[in-house]
Amino acid sequence: MRAMLGKGSIRRRLVVQLSLIAAVLSLAFFLIVRAVAGQAASDTQDNILAASATSIADAIYSERGRISLELPYSALSMLGSISQDRVFYRVIVDGETLTGYDDLPAPAHFPKPSEPVFSTLDFRGEEVRSVAVGRTVSSGGQAIRAAIVVAQTRSGLAAITSKISATSVAVGIGLFLFATLLSLLAAQSALLPLNRMTQSIKRRGPHDLRPVRTEIPGELLPLVAALNNFMARLRAALAQSEELVAEAAHRVRTPLAVVRTQAEVALRRLDKPEDRQALREMIRAVDESSRSAGQLLDHAMVTFRTDHLQETRFDLGEVTRETCAHLQPTAGLKDIALVLDIPERPLPFVGDPILLQSALRNILDNAIKYSPADSEITVTITVDRHYEISFRDQGRGFGDVNTGGLTKRFARGGNVADVVGSGLGLTIVDVVARAHKGRVKIRTNTEGPGACVSLVLPLH
């Protein structure tokens, strides 16, 4: 599972995309607010400038053929109300400056009386906004054209614009952060059903291959359908492989049983020593191959089951007693007594009882096989810091064999060539022990003949 590090997270993608959208929207908000506010401020200035110029124009009068102007105070004070900007004005009559700043630029064309002309220009090193208003005054039956220019610096306007900008930046950032937070929450809630499904699959046992039935949104239906389909196929494959093993066992063992039985019947009827010897060897070969087939299948099954370890709680003492009881008749054939020294109280253990049984049967089967007639096999369970299930026999022991190598597949001791065996028994025991976090202990008895094989398992 560790190897499956997520590549690209849906949540991250959702959050990033939603945040990007929020960023674009915030920026657009900022730009629009700034533009609108700037325009509004600029329009206000223009309107006041125009009103000021118009009121100056209204104050022009003709007296005895002369054009005069009584500059109204309000015309300039209304401009001062916007800010502390400087104000310039110029009144031009017939191309001559009547009053005001001579160098304040006048428009190239005479402005029409109803349409003030606005312009932005540099005056005395400062940017100013100016308005020119035209007015025709009749003087002595003569129409005289007068132009009034009023200008104002723009620092007040810039201050207002930057203030609005700062506010809109703050609001934009706030909006962005808020939208990002919302997108996080939205991603979280959008992924909730997915997490719920993951949890419900995670909680399952290793053998639970039932279809997923949690309530899921429509978008996940194809995924869940694919998952359920996959699990169904896996279930079928597992069942098939178990069936195959059973079928293989059946196909191999039934003909062997026929051969063995017929050979035994024939043996009873034969007297010639060489015929009898041949038949005995035949039976021996059948036993050998059936044992090998059995252990290969056992090994396959043990490997399969340890890969899919199914853990249940059971009594180790009871399983050991059952295994001994089942092999009692086999031991009896050689007058081997099974002496059990197992505590009466329950010995709780968590694992796969079928695997444990298989391991115990293999150890005991070996012990019976290598024990002489009229001997004893002692089965003890000691509970210390571990469970230790020991099978002590009075057989030939392991001699000088390297006992560590005996758990390897098809490895057999050097002193057992005369006994039928596949070399898989202890391997099975070892696989089972490891699957249950235990180990196999093999040693030759120091007192008396024989060997002792123990299965050491952790306490639960």
Binding site: V258, R268, G294
Partner: protein, 222 residues
């Protein structure tokens, strides 16, 4: 003893019939569950040997149905399948024991004996000869009220002799009955067991005679 064998492999069934007949047992063969059911209705058996994979169903169903009847005939399952997956289910369903194909007949006999002993006996487990009462199920002989337990190989050897008193059994034949084919033992090993039996038969008229060059036989002469 009378066995019912439920097994679909005809060759194996025939071989089993022959083999059990050698030991004086009778075996009825049913090749499927339907035949087995009709046999059970008309005859009574000491033991049922049941295969699991049968043409008209699973032997386990038969086992379940058999246990729900009042019939207490013990059942030993003959299985070819991997033991570790089947074992739990079989015993839970009420099989008395199971044996994996191909099997050693001595082992089958030993299992039958163990099952019958647990179940409280077959009809003809008592044999009498020359003042010896031989209980093959309990594994005892009693001579003039004195009960003597027998070990497994002594029991099996005595069964051979009691089945045909007076008949001469060669050493190789007796060895086949006593030792598994995978054990390498010399013919002299049989003398050990004959010696032990002779000791246990002391005090009765029964004797195991050595017939020089031929083998042994059971006689009732003093």
């Amino acid at each position: 003893m009378r066995f019912l064998l439920v097994e679909d492999n005809a060759q194996l069934a025939r071989a089993l019939v022959d083999r059990l007949a050698l030991d004086g047992h009778v075996l009825d063969h049913a090749e499927d569950l339907a035949t087995a059911n009709s046999f059970i209705e008309v005859a009574s058996y000491d033991l049922i040997l049941l295969d699991i994979m049968l043409p008209d169903g699973d032997g386990r169903n038969f086992l379940k149905a058999h246990r729900s009847r009042t019939d207490r005939t013990p059942v030993i399952v003959l299985t070819a399948r991997s033991q570790i997956t089947d074992r739990v289910g079989l015993l839970d369903l009420g099989a008395d024991d199971y044996i994996v194909k191909p099997f050693d007949f001595s082992e089958l006999e030993a299992r039958c004996r163990a099952v019958l002993r647990r179940r409280g006996g077959a009809a003809d487990n008592m044999r009498h000869f020359a003042g010896v009462d031989f209980d093959s199920l309990a594994g005892t002989i009693s001579i003039a009220g004195r009960v003597e337990p027998l070990r497994n190989r002594e029991l099996r050897l005595l069964e051979v002799f009691f089945a045909a008193p007076g008949q001469i059994f060669s050493k190789p034949h007796l060895m086949d009955r006593l030792f598994s084919f995978t054990e390498d033992v010399s013919e002299n090993a049989i003398e050990v067991y004959v010696g032990r039996l002779r000791k246990k038969l002391e005090g009765s008229a029964a004797r195991i005679e050595t017939v020089r060059g031929l083998g042994y036989r059971l006689t009732g002469k003093t």
